[in-house]
C-alpha cells in the first residue's frame, strides 16, 4: 500500500515536471524542472529494489549531465528566444489524436499480464550484489549492445562538433555582418 502511494507520487511528479520542463520559457527553469524529475526517477528505481541504478541516476544524470546543460546554457548566449513558426499549422487534430492515443494506452494497461521472469530475480540480484550482477550482464550477454552504444557516443561527438563548428567561410560572413550570431532556421 505504501509502495503504491510512493509510486503514484513519483509518477505524478515525473509527469508534471516533464510537462513543466517543456513549458517553461526560461531554460534555466527547465533544467531545474528536469533535476526534480531525475530525483523522482531515482525514487522509482529505489522502489524497484535497484539501489545501484538509483545512485547512478543521481550521480550521473542529476550530478553531471544537468550541470553540463547549465554550462551550455551559460555559454550559448540566449538573449532572445528563437522564434520559429510551428511546423504543423493546425495542431488541434494532433491534440485530439494524442489524447486518443493516451486513452488507448491507459485502457490497455487493464489487460497487462507480467511475463515469464528471467534469471535475475530480486533475490538473485541481492545475493550477487547489484554491481556484480550488472557488470556480468553488460560484459557478457550485452557486450555487443554495449559496444554499439560506444559507437553512438562517438557519432554524437563527431556530429555535434561538425554542426556546431563555424566554417571559415561562415566566420568571414559573420564578420561582414558585424555579429557572431548563429544562422537561424526559419520557414523558407
Amino acid at each position: 500500500m505504501l509502495s503504491k502511494f510512493i509510486f503514484l507520487y513519483c509518477a505524478l511528479v515525473i509527469v508534471i515536471t516533464g510537462i513543466l520542463a517543456v513549458r517553461f520559457r526560461n531554460p534555466v527553469h527547465s533544467v531545474l524542472a528536469v533535476l526534480v524529475l531525475f530525483f523522482h526517477m531515482a525514487g522509482l528505481y529505489l522502489l524497484l529494489n535497484a539501489e545501484f541504478l538509483a545512485a547512478i541516476q543521481i550521480i550521473v544524470y542529476a550530478g553531471a549531465i544537468l550541470v553540463l546543460y547549465l554550462f551550455v546554457l551559460f555559454l550559448v548566449n540566449i538573449r532572445q528566444e528563437i522564434k520559429t513558426e510551428r511546423f504543423v499549422a493546425n495542431h488541434n487534430i494532433s491534440k485530439f489524436i494524442s489524447f486518443l492515443v493516451f486513452l488507448i494506452l491507459i485502457a490497455v494497461t487493464q489487460s497487462f499480464r507480467l511475463g515469464t521472469p528471467g534469471k535475475w530475480t530480486t533475490d538473485a540480484i541481492r545475493q550477487a550484489t547489484h554491481t556484480k550482477a550488472l557488470g556480468i550482464e553488460i560484459f557478457t550477454s550485452y557486450i555487443l549492445p554495449f559496444e554499439i552504444i560506444a559507437l553512438i557516443l562517438l557519432v554524437a561527438v563527431v556530429g555535434g562538433i561538425l554542426l556546431a563548428k563555424q566554417d571559415k567561410q561562415e566566420v568571414v560572413m559573420a564578420q561582414k555582418e558585424g555579429s557572431g550570431s548563429l544562422t537561424r532556421g526559419g520557414k523558407k
Partner: protein
C-alpha cells in the same frame, strides 16, 4: 534460455564487414586531419565499402553473441543493398561536395558509421540491438541532413528530422517495453515462442505494443500517415544525402520490419496484415498524388520515394516468403533506379543552377542528349514500364500480394502506378519536347559520377535482362527463416 555467452574472439569473424567499415570510418577522420588531398577520402570510402562487400559474401553465417546478432543470408542480402546504396552515395558525393563547399572528412565517416548502424539493425536478433542500430543510423543521418549550414531549408530539415525521429524512437521504446513486460524477453526468436505459449495473440496490451513498434518503423520507411517529415527533409538535405536516405536507411528499416513481423510475430499476421494493407494503399495514394503538384524535381522524387515505400509494403503484407523476397528484390532494383535519377539531378547541379527545379530540365535532350537518355531510362524504370527493371520488381510484388488474397490492394496499386506515370513522364516531356529557357552550359563530368552512372546502368540492364539470380538469392535467403 539465458545462455551464458562470454565474448570470444571467434565471434568477431562474423562481424568482418562491419569491422572493416568501422575502421574505415575512424581512419577517415584521421586522414582528413593530416592529408590535404580531399579526393583521397571518397575513394578510400569507396574502397572500404567494396572490401566490406567482398567480405560480406565470404563471412561465415551463424548466430553470435548469444542470439543477439544473426548473420544469415537474409541479413547478407539487406547488407548488400545498404552497401550498394553507400557506394553510390560516395561516388555521387565526390564532385557534389566541392560544388556545395561542404567539408569532406566527417561527411564520409558519418556516412560509414550510419551504414554500420544499418548492418546492426539488419542483423539484430534482439530488439535491443535493433534499437541501438537504428539510433546509430539515425543519429549520423540527422547530422548529415543539416550539413548545409548556410541553407535554412537544410537547418529546418535537420531539426525536423531530429525531433520527429526522437519522438518515433520514444514510441518504439514504449512498444518494446510493453512487449518485454508481457513476454519477459527481447530476443526475437524467443518472442515468437512466448507469444504462442503465453497466449498473447489477442492480448490488447501486446497488440498496442506491436502497434507502437510498427508505427516507429513505418516512420522510418516514411509510410503514410507517418510520412510528414519526408518531403521537407528530403528537399532540405544535400542531394547526395537525399539519395542515400531514400535507399539505404529505408532498406534497413524494411529488413527489420520483415524480420520482426514475419519472424517474431508471424502468428499475429491476422492482426497486422490488414493494417499494412491499409497503410500501403494510403502511402501509394499520398505519395503519387502529391508528387503531381511538385515544381521541384527533388521534392517530386521525395514523394515518389514515399510512393515506392508503399509498393514495397505490398510484399510485407503478404506475410510469407514469396512476398518478402519480392520486397527484397524490389528494394534492390529501387536502389539502382533511384540512385540513377539522383545522379542526373546532382550532375546538373553546378554553380549556376541547382538542377532541382523541373524547369532546369527543359530542352535537355538538345543540349545533353546522353544525360537526357539516361534520365529517360531511370524514369521509365521508376514508372515500372516494361521491359525495364522497375517493371520486373513491381510485377513480383503484385503477384505476391494477389497470391496472399489482397486483390483490392493490388488494384489500387495498379491505379496509382498509372497515376505515377503522369509526373515521371512530364519530366520526359520537358526534356524532349520543350526548348531550353536559357542557354545551358555543358555538364562537367567527374570520375565518380561516371562510375555511378555506369554502375546504375549496368544494374538496370542486368536486372531487366537477367532478374533470376537476385530473385533466387532473395528467395533462397528465406529458407529456414
Amino acid at each position: 534460455m539465458n545462455t551464458f555467452s562470454p565474448f570470444t574472439l571467434s565471434s568477431l569473424s562474423f562481424l568482418g564487414p562491419e569491422l572493416v567499415l568501422l575502421s574505415v570510418g575512424i581512419l577517415l577522420i584521421v586522414v582528413d586531419l593530416f592529408f590535404e588531398n580531399r579526393l583521397l577520402l571518397p575513394w578510400l570510402t569507396a574502397a572500404g565499402t567494396l572490401v566490406s562487400l567482398v567480405l560480406l559474401f565470404n563471412s561465415p553465417s551463424g548466430i553470435v553473441f548469444g542470439y543477439m546478432y544473426v548473420v544469415d543470408a537474409y541479413s547478407v542480402f539487406f547488407k548488400m543493398v545498404c552497401l550498394v546504396g553507400v557506394l553510390f552515395t560516395v561516388l555521387l558525393s565526390e564532385r557534389y561536395l566541392t560544388t556545395e563547399k561542404l567539408r569532406h572528412g566527417e561527411y564520409y565517416s558519418l556516412l560509414v558509421f550510419s551504414t554500420v548502424g544499418m548492418m546492426a539493425m539488419v542483423s539484430g536478433g534482439d530488439l535491443i540491438v535493433v534499437y541501438l542500430g537504428l539510433e546509430l543510423m539515425a543519429l549520423s543521418v540527422y547530422c548529415l541532413v543539416g550539413l548545409l549550414k548556410q541553407d535554412s531549408r537544410s537547418n529546418e530539415a535537420s531539426l525536423k528530422y531530429f525531433l520527429m525521429g526522437a519522438f518515433s524512437t520514444g514510441l518504439l521504446l514504449y512498444g518494446i517495453s510493453l512487449i518485454y513486460g508481457l513476454t519477459g524477453t527481447t530476443d526475437l526468436s524467443m518472442l515468437s515462442q512466448r507469444v504462442v505459449s503465453l497466449d498473447l495473440i489477442n492480448n490488447h496490451a501486446f497488440l498496442v505494443g506491436l502497434g507502437l513498434v510498427l508505427v516507429a518503423f513505418c516512420f522510418k520507411v516514411a509510410a503514410a500517415p507517418f510520412h510528414m517529415w519526408a518531403p521537407d527533409v528530403y528537399e532540405g538535405a544535400p542531394s547526395s544525402i537525399t539519395a542515400f536516405m531514400a535507399v539505404a536507411p529505408k532498406a534497413a528499416a524494411f529488413a527489420v520490419l520483415g524480420r520482426v513481423l514475419i519472424m517474431g510475430f508471424a502468428d499475429v499476421h491476422i492482426h497486422w496484415g490488414p493494417i499494412i494493407a491499409f497503410l500501403a494503399v494510403l502511402t501509394m495514394a499520398i505519395g503519387n498524388i502529391a508528387a503531381i503538384a511538385q515544381k521541384s524535381l527533388k521534392r517530386m522524387l521525395a514523394y515518389s520515394s514515399i510512393a515506392h515505400a508503399g509498393y514495397a509494403l505490398l510484399g510485407i503484407l503478404a506475410g510469407n516468403n514469396e512476398g518478402l523476397s519480392a520486397t527484397m528484390n524490389y528494394l534492390f532494383i529501387y536502389a539502382f533506379m533511384n540512385m540513377g535519377a539522383f545522379a542526373i539531378l546532382i550532375l546538373l547541379c553546378d554553380n549556376k543552377r541547382r538542377g532541382e527545379q523541373l524547369d532546369d530540365y527543359r530542352g535537355l535532350a538538345k543540349t545533353n542528349p546522353l544525360v537526357a537518355a539516361l534520365m529517360l531510362v531511370f524514369l521509365f524504370s521508376l514508372v515500372g514500364l516494361p521491359p525495364t527493371a522497375g517493371f520486373i520488381g513491381k510485377f513480383y510484388l503484385l503477384v505476391a500480394a494477389i497470391h496472399a488474397g489482397y486483390i483490392v490492394t493490388v488494384v489500387a496499386a495498379m491505379i496509382f502506378s498509372v497515376i505515377s506515370a503522369y509526373y515521371y513522364l512530364r519530366v520526359v516531356r520537358y526534356m524532349y519536347f520543350e526548348n531550353a529557357v536559357q542557354e545551358t552550359a555543358a555538364v562537367s563530368i567527374s570520375p565518380g559520377m561516371t562510375a555511378a552512372l555506369v554502375l546504375a546502368m549496368i544494374g538496370m540492364i542486368g536486372m531487366a535482362t537477367f532478374p533470376g539470380p537476385i530473385l533466387s538469392f532473395a528467395g533462397k535467403s528465406l529458407i529456414g527463416f
